[in-house]
Amino acid sequence: MQVEKFYYDNKIVRNFAYATILWGAVGMLVGLWIALQLVFPGPFPHGLNLAPWFNFGRLRPLHTNAVIFAFVGNGIFMGVYYSLQRLCKTRMFSDKLSYIHFWGWQLIIVAAAVTLPLGLTTGGEYAELIWPIDVAITVIWVVFGWNMFGTIIKRREKHLYVAIWFYIATFVTVAVLHIVRSGELPYTWLKSYSLYAGVQDALVQWWYGHNAVAFFLTTPYLGLMYYFLPKAANRPIYSYRLSIIHFWALIFLYIWAGPHHLLYTALPNWAQALGTVFSLMLIFPSWGGMINGLLTLRGAWDRVRDDVILKFMVVAVTAYGMATFEGPMLSLKSVSAISHYTDWIIAHVHIGALGWNGMLTFGVLYWIIPRIYKTDLYSKKLANVHFWLATLGILFYAIPMYWAGFQESSMWKQFTEAGQLKYTFLETVTYMKPFYAMRSFGGTLYLAGMVILVYNLYKTVKAGKLVANEAAEAAPLEKVFVAPKHEHWHRVIERKPVQFMVLSLVVILIGGLIELVPTFLIKSNVPTISSVKPYTPLELEGRDIYVREGCYLCHSQMIRPFRSETERYGEYSKAGEFVYDHPFQWGSKRIGPDLAREGSGNLKKSDGWHFRHFREPSSMSEGSIMPSYDFMLLNDLDTSDLSAKIHAMILLGVPYPANYEKDAMADLNIQAKEISDNLVGDSIRVSPRKEVIALIAYIQRLGTDIAKNPTATFNK
């Protein structure tokens, strides 16, 4: 058959590579900045908090979103656009779609970088972006999928290599996750409330959150590993058979891992045991991937010593193995009791992000750039320096955080012989400071390595010339393909991308639906606690400020049923307390104390205390690392959306009286006046129109419902 000549599009690969480097540096820099904010918490220039835009609570989502969706996201596209063309022996389906995809994704990132510091957020971790950006993500994701499937369909290689399966599964699953998590009811052009409330919102969130890790940070990078590791090692993958089992088992099991962590403790004991088995089973496909990667280097380990790209890849795959062993362990109830809310989790995710994603991205960048510029890497020595800085950076980051996590947990749980809690929460916070400083040092090393990469690749690019259209030749596929006799079904679907996609979709939907059906049934099974009432208009405004400032990133609102927690924070949290919480605000990390009962019992403080605390936290809690929120004392509360907010809440099923939109403003003013008058007693004169009044109203409401009447009645 006549060979056809065609050209690979390297320009799009170059663009995504540059974007990966740029946003990687930005994401890491913001990460380092927020790490240092915990060491130097005061307002600028005494500390590193630049209120309001660059306070910890607003920058932390910027860090996570930048690293996940900008750095790793562009890294995925760089690797996919390079490898997919070569694995399919064809140019990308459409240069125009590639162009739209690239610039659309960068615009989304810029929009995120602008909106998050402005406090425009939905308040769900890793899904903070506001609804218009969510819509844009959906459109651009479809463009990516269209371009990818177009390329696969016009390919000249009959079989879809394992890397492409991972790309397909990524595309399908991220689409499903994004659509379900982005279920929001917009009430203005920029703002919305989650369709789900309380427990249901939490279950959707962690079904999304964990699978974002699975299908954005893991499966596409496994695809890259299956392509670039054999290329760099110049030998085929260790076991193709293992890759088939690894792939299907991984995508089937992973989708379970999110709400699963929440749900299995909610089920009877035998079901909890079954759930634990499922979590533990996830180790096998994960380690199948790690083993497949590492054993690809069998007999070539001597090359790892000399080849810096292989070094990056080996550390990446090893970090993947560590993180995927640790993950199932963390989902054991007894381990979770210790690790949850602590810096242990921060260490765990950074083994994944810095180790697995970061190191693999660096390896791929050092491999791709010289090739598309038809030159050699400027300096192997500098790449080696980068490797050691990054590796040491990971260790200096992770070890203090693991240590801090154990310390935190044990200090939170310790009692004196007299039966009192041994440490105040503030003592545990100040104890953490040296660990936060050491972690920042690790982050600095890692970022320094990134700077070296930028210099090294800049010099490489200068020395070469981009081969924008790289010539290649391959025979076209036969029009009529005669399948060999007795062919296995897996080989058949390996030729049929659309069927492959459908099968992947079915596999992830089985896990997803079995998870989500009980999730949605829970709504009708959450007990109504008669004393739990909707938020007053002022409290609702205050709650929106709480979400805007990212308070949930440091404060949980979820008291677990442990003596150490009920002693410190009061009665453990009940599902029925959250039925009007759109979105839920349980949080996942306690840099500050839990606030679920901040307005009731022993924890209740005066309005004046909160006022002074927001103005300067350390004046009321010496040693506090919370940023100052003095701008709320000056800013007028914007109530222009109040009736739209109440209307949206009514649509979501919150039982406000009919037509309450009209009366809400009057009620808000009355309550604000009460708090303002109350503050006069504390020698504080402040207008009832200020933002701080609304936030005080919300904080003082927390935990008060159940204190009035803790008896629950089921609506069944």
């Binding site: 490898s83 070569r86 079989h159 290599y161 427990v199 299956y226 054999p230 290329k231 760099a232 110049n234 030998r235 085929p236 193709y240 088939i244 089992i245 299907w248 088992a249 089937f252 099991l253 749900l263 403790t265 909610a266 089920l267 009877p268 035998w270 079901a271 079954l274 088995v277 499922f278 089973m281 080849d307 810096v308 790209i309 979770s336 009791a337 949850h340 491999w367 010289p370 890497l377 290649a472 296995h488 079904w489 897996h490 080989r491 896990g511 079995i514 059906v517 009980p518 049934l521 829970i522 099974n525 959450v526 007990p527 677990r560 049923p561 453990y572 009940k574 599902a575 089921f714 069944k716």
Partner: protein, 63 residues
């Protein structure tokens, strides 16, 4: 943790069936997959795993 939800989830009629169904589906799927993989021909496996390497740049030296 989250034992506080336990009592409510327990009230879902036949909730245990979800866990059983999922385990059964996974187990069946996994067994079929093992059989399929086991029956794959050695030459085919070799051919497939060489797909990424079957190119000109194969001979380019690594940096």
């Amino acid at each position: 943790m989250f034992t506080f939800i336990k009592q409510y989830a327990e009230r879902i009629d036949g909730v245990h069936i979800y866990a059983f169904i999922s385990l059964f589906i996974f187990f069946a799927f996994f067994v079929v997959l093992l059989v399929v993989v086991k029956k794959m021909g050695k030459e085919r496996v070799e051919e497939l795993s060489n797909i990424p390497l079957d190119q000109e740049e194969l001979n380019q030296s690594n940096i």
